[in-house]
């Protein structure tokens, strides 16, 4: 009896080990200690969003510089933050969004960049320089930017229902709605529905927004992040919300999809490359950032993920239809309706956390 149990247990553990091997082999560039590096130029540990790069760019960079890239991925700013805050993981380059950069600067988690090592910085669109989240532009180099909007399936949604965030509260599409699975974006949509700012520090407004989300919960099919790709492409849901660049990827696989910017306004964001405080491979990290800002790498990435590029030379090289896409490179009228996330004070972040748990544990 005990022997069989022991056997079962050891088999399970072995199964776990085996599967562990498989998943590291899949992307052999993930060993964080970098001991597997055959190159002489050392390593750089990069922590980026999932589905957010043309992976051949990493190989190109390794070939060009001899620096080995250990590449890992996260699916939300919050995941990245908690991994870094908990310590133990040694990343050099991270690519958070604006509000998270503000928070990390405030908590002294980022290292000022040496722009002498990043000459390609000159190619960044001047409109994106010295942003609110990094006013003196000491810590960050924009990687991609874009807009959030509503994605819908034209075969399932009536045209008359389009135009506003309230499509996501429309009972006609009960159980066909996909909502964001992270607190900042989801509560943000609630705030916009009510006409408030994304960056409000009024606790009652935030609670009101979460009440709205609790009300919406019975209509929601699933709370998703990157799972939205499969669900929208497969026609498994009628309405979702995600970034315009991702919509362009989805519509390639399912031409029935449509996109609009809600009239109440939406979020515009910048994801920017930063170096973590105390990074061991700072110069390699700067070389990596510089390479990512080259026209060649920028173009490859842009044509893979379809987010809006901050690099002027890349935009010139793009197909004019893409380069003049009104949602990818929006005009002032659209930008006037957009608001970006700012850093929030700790007591409001705590409130976001507890309110988010309230929503997720509501029945």
């Amino acid at each position: 009896m005990k022997k069989t149990l022991a056997l079962i247990m050891s088999l399970t553990i072995m199964a776990g080990l085996l599967s562990g091997c498989v998943s590291t082999r899949e992307s052999d560039s993930t060993d964080t200690d970098g001991s597997g590096a055959e190159a002489t130029g050392g390593v750089v540990n990069v922590y980026n969003w999932g589905e957010y790069i043309d992976e051949s760019v990493l190989t190109d960079f390794e070939e060009a510089t001899g620096i080995k890239v250990n590449y890992q991925m996260y699916d939300s700013n919050e995941t990245m933050y908690s991994k870094v805050a908990a310590g133990g993981a040694e990343y050099d380059v991270v690519i958070p969004s604006d509000y998270m950069i503000a928070r990390m600067i405030e908590e002294d988690m980022l290292e000022p960049l040496n722009f002498d090592n990043i000459p390609n910085f000159a190619d960044i669109d001047p409109n994106l320089l010295n942003p609110a989240y990094d006013p003196e532009n000491l810590y960050s180099v924009p990687y991609m930017w874009g807009l959030l909007g509503v994605i819908y399936n034209k075969t399932m949604v009536d045209e008359a229902d389009l135009g506003s965030w309230d499509l996501m509260w429309n009972e006609k599409y009960a159980d066909d709605i996909l909502m964001f699975d992270n607190s900042r974006d989801a509560i943000g949509i609630g705030l916009k529905m009510l006409g408030y700012s994304y960056n409000t520090t009024d606790e009652n407004q935030i609670k009101e927004a979460v009440d709205l989300l609790v009300e919406q919960k019975p209509l929601v099919q699933a709370y998703v992040m990157d799972e939205v790709f499969g669900k929208m492409e497969g026609g498994n849901a009628a309405v979702g919300t995600y970034y315009y660049g991702d919509y362009l990827t989805m519509v390639e696989n399912n031409p029935d999809l449509g996109f609009y910017i809600p009239e109440e306004g939406t979020n515009t964001y910048v994801d920017a490359m930063c170096i973590l405080k105390g990074a061991k491979n700072k110069e390699n990290a700067e070389a990596f950032i510089n390479y990512m800002c080259s026209t060649e790498a920028g173009l490859k990435n842009c044509e893979e993920i379809w987010y809006s590029t901050p690099l002027m030379s890349v935009r010139e090289e793009l197909d004019p239809e893409v380069a003049n896409d009104p949602y990818a490179y929006p005009d002032e009228e659209i930008m006037a309706k957009c608001e970006s996330y700012a850093g929030l004070p700790q007591n409001i972040l705590d409130l976001y956390d507890s309110e988010w748990t309230r929503l997720k544990s509501a029945t």
């Binding site: 908690s82 998703v224 499969g230």
Partner: protein, 270 residues
Amino acid sequence: MRSKGIAIPYVVWMAIFVVVPLILVVVYAFTNRSGGFTLENFASMSQYASVFGRSFLLAFVATVVCILLGYPMAYFLARERGRLRQMATMLIMLPMWMNFLLRTYSWVFLLERNGFFNTLLETIGLPKLDIIDTQGAVVLGMVYNFLPFMVLPIFSVIEKMDHRLIEAAQDLGANSAEVFRRVIFPLSLPGVLSGVTMVFIPSVSTFVISRLLGGGKSLLLGDLIEMQFLGSAYNPHLGSAISLVMMVIVLVSMGIMNRFGEGEGEAVVL
């Protein structure tokens, strides 16, 4: 003396990977962000009562389903001989060689609105199954993933059962239903108890199943804890407190179960 020397590496191993983490959990649970002592983490626990309730309920349902499916499976398997048995044991073990996450992901594609099953049902003119993103799908995921842990202990107990006892019962005039009810089933209880432990504990603490198959709507304890460490709500202190409460509840319920099975012997507390 010699045997003690051999045990040292294991003691060190256990201390580093079991005892130290447990101490860390306790320390975190009783402190706040600035490091001071607090009971606040536990005071706020009542707001998660629904999550605790849902987790234990779903894990209970999954365990019951596992017994109902796993017992007959183990029973017939144990009485089978030769090739068929080897094949069947192999088939039960086979999924465990694959990563848990992959197995669960594949269910997403099978159960999705326009997924494999529904496309199949549609082509043969049957109504669609609407199970994805429900609690039913979560239970299905638990049963699928943990069923082998129910089958194998029961199987090994029945297989090793002294056949003479069954023959004696038959000689004394018991029909096959009585033999099963009065001899085989009571003797197989230790296997069932081990199986229950090995299914219930991972079910109650699982986290990724409800996110993938339950659409992130039916938050379970595992998800709640994960959210405190890696998710949107970064609060390892609260996460540790929830883990601690969960461990205590699980230990207490396993204690009760072991008492219930006392004399049957070997139910295992993990």
